[in-house]
Symmetry: C2
Subunit: 336 residues, 2 copies
């Protein structure tokens, strides 16, 4: 059965019709006589014919494909967002082409390049960084939505995020309400989202007159980063009774740092994360967190993208959703 794959011509020859008719039949047109349709169908099956997407997309001048760039596949929230994106994209009759980014900016750039060469009709970026290539994509007329990061100034770019400042404040409010005063923050590194969460933290602390208690420890949006930052916090001379960690993945690392020091959560120290990843909900982790509506953010992003595809000229939209507090077992009253 080796040899070149059968083409539309082979099917036409076997069915004894023209390739145009096969083309029509394959796409389920109702202008094909039932008898012909049957003959074509059977010829196609017999040969194991499968249309060539490259040829089709060339002739059509559309790929029917949406590109998705996931910057951090290791963060479980990516999977949850992707689910939402996929669901919506499929519902619209398109399909997705997924690529993963990485810390290596050049590599990420070239992945985007590849997507564009494939003539994707839209681009969804999931992550907090804004890769250089995205800017080109947009000016090159490829509708783009970025999830997780707010972006308003750029024409042609829609974005969808949650209100990180409000979320961070919410975290501090909650801890403050539990009686905590020495509340530390483990940051998420050098990116817009992390900066907003940090400034929400600072604002809230200030508003409670706790400016002198503000203490930020450098971390990252990874388990390892959370471990590192929280270790620094706990080893400092300040007696932090609570730590607001930049995201859930890092917060799991934070829990590890606490455990490593023989301390107990939430008796000795309270930990609160951010994101609302599903895994954090398991009782064995039981992470209190500020949750984003991940799946629906994915869906909304895709919906936004299709809106723009249908109306390229429309003004950039930025949707900001409100996060919500999810209380679990990693936080408790200050027992000072």
């Amino acid at each position: 059965m080796a040899g070149p794959r059968p083409t539309i011509k082979d099917v036409a020859a076997l069915a004894g019709v023209s390739k145009s008719l096969v083309s029509l039949a394959m796409r389920g047109s109702d202008r094909v006589a039932p008898a012909s349709a049957a003959a074509i169908q059977s010829a196609a099956n017999q040969l194991g014919y499968r249309p060539n997407a490259a040829a089709r997309s060339l002739a059509d001048r559309r790929s029917n494909t949406i590109g998705v760039l996931v910057q951090d596949l290791h963060n479980p929230i990516s999977a949850e967002i992707i689910d939402g994106v996929q669901r919506q994209v499929r519902a619209s009759g398109y399909h997705t082409m997924l690529v993963t980014g990485s810390e290596d900016a050049a590599l990420e750039q070239s992945e985007i390049e590849k997507l564009l060469e494939f003539q994707v009709e839209g681009l969804v970026v999931i992550g907090h960084r804004m890769p250089a290539g995205v800017r080109d994509a947009i000016t090159g007329d490829c509708p783009t939505v970025i999830i997780t990061r707010a972006e308003s100034e750029i024409a042609g770019l829609d974005s969808i995020s949650n209100n990180d400042i409000a979320g961070a404040r919410m975290a501090v409010d909650y801890l403050h309400g539990l009686g905590h005063r020495a509340i530390a923050h483990v940051t998420g590194g050098d990116n817009q989202v992390a900066r907003m969460r940090k400034s929400g933290y600072e604002e809230a602390m200030n508003s409670y007159g706790l400016a002198k208690n503000i203490a930020c420890y450098e971390g990252a949006f990874t388990d390892e980063g959370g471990y590192r930052g929280t270790s620094a916090a706990l080893d400092s001379k300040h007696q932090h009774s609570a730590v607001f960690v930049a995201n859930d993945l890092a917060a799991v690392g934070a829990l590890a740092a606490v455990a490593d020091r023989g301390l107990v959560v939430p008796k000795d120290v309270s930990i609160i994360g951010y994101d609302g990843m599903a895994l954090g909900g398991l009782r064995s982790i039981g992470l209190t967190t500020i949750a984003q509506p991940l799946a629906s953010m994915g869906e909304d992003a895709a919906a936004l993208l299709f809106q723009r595809i249908n109306d390229p000229g429309r003004l950039p939209v930025h949707i900001e959703l409100e996060p919500s507090l999810v209380i679990r077992n990693s936080t408790g009253a200050y027992l000072g």
Copy 2:
């Protein structure tokens, strides 16, 4: 700047050369005079030219693309395997097109169909199920490697897995060595990998003369499945002092089930998982497990794929790696 994207013809016109020469130049041929190369380069930049992958792949009759089907993106080990696959694929000058499967077999089938329509030159399947479409793919001459599941009989299909039976035995050996006798197993559902782990468990129990203690509880390869199965185990009249859970994700669910009953790990009950996902290594989870070399499995899989692409006729290869025991805090001596 709207309008149709520039094509190779536009570049040729602007640079004052033929499209053939532009084609050559874009691919960095050394048969192009330096002066022309420069002119072409600058024309291309000026127009923002980007080659059309569909046209290229049509003319070339090769897509330079490897398709990857990930059956369960929510399991963190998927990301670890994908990393390995991507690294190797990139090193070979190809790129990957990732799609996600799901419980819905029809949907998964159609995702594979899409990959094949894109004329991917190879297929990597990550997961324990063997989707119907894969069989077609193989007989349709698309080299395929399946990761995580052993497969030997099918021509044209390579596979790479770990020795699940030995791994499961290893888990029981270890627990037995700690003094446990009433060792329960929470299964991973109805698939080959889960069945092998189960039979490894049974064999080991038998070899210790513990046949009457064999107790399997139905679970799944998800946190929820582990929670459910372990709950059933703990609520049963048998006094299980240890539970071997089918995979790490489920084991995290198992830890939750234990915690929910006010029991403490490992004092009251020991939990051991399977897979070696990175997250399990965090001290806050501290999951003892049977680890697979995930990233290198991904790399090896891709390497295998390229071997086959270069030599389509070669016999199917099955690589089986040995898993290793990683001891952390979820297991301890029997204190009964």
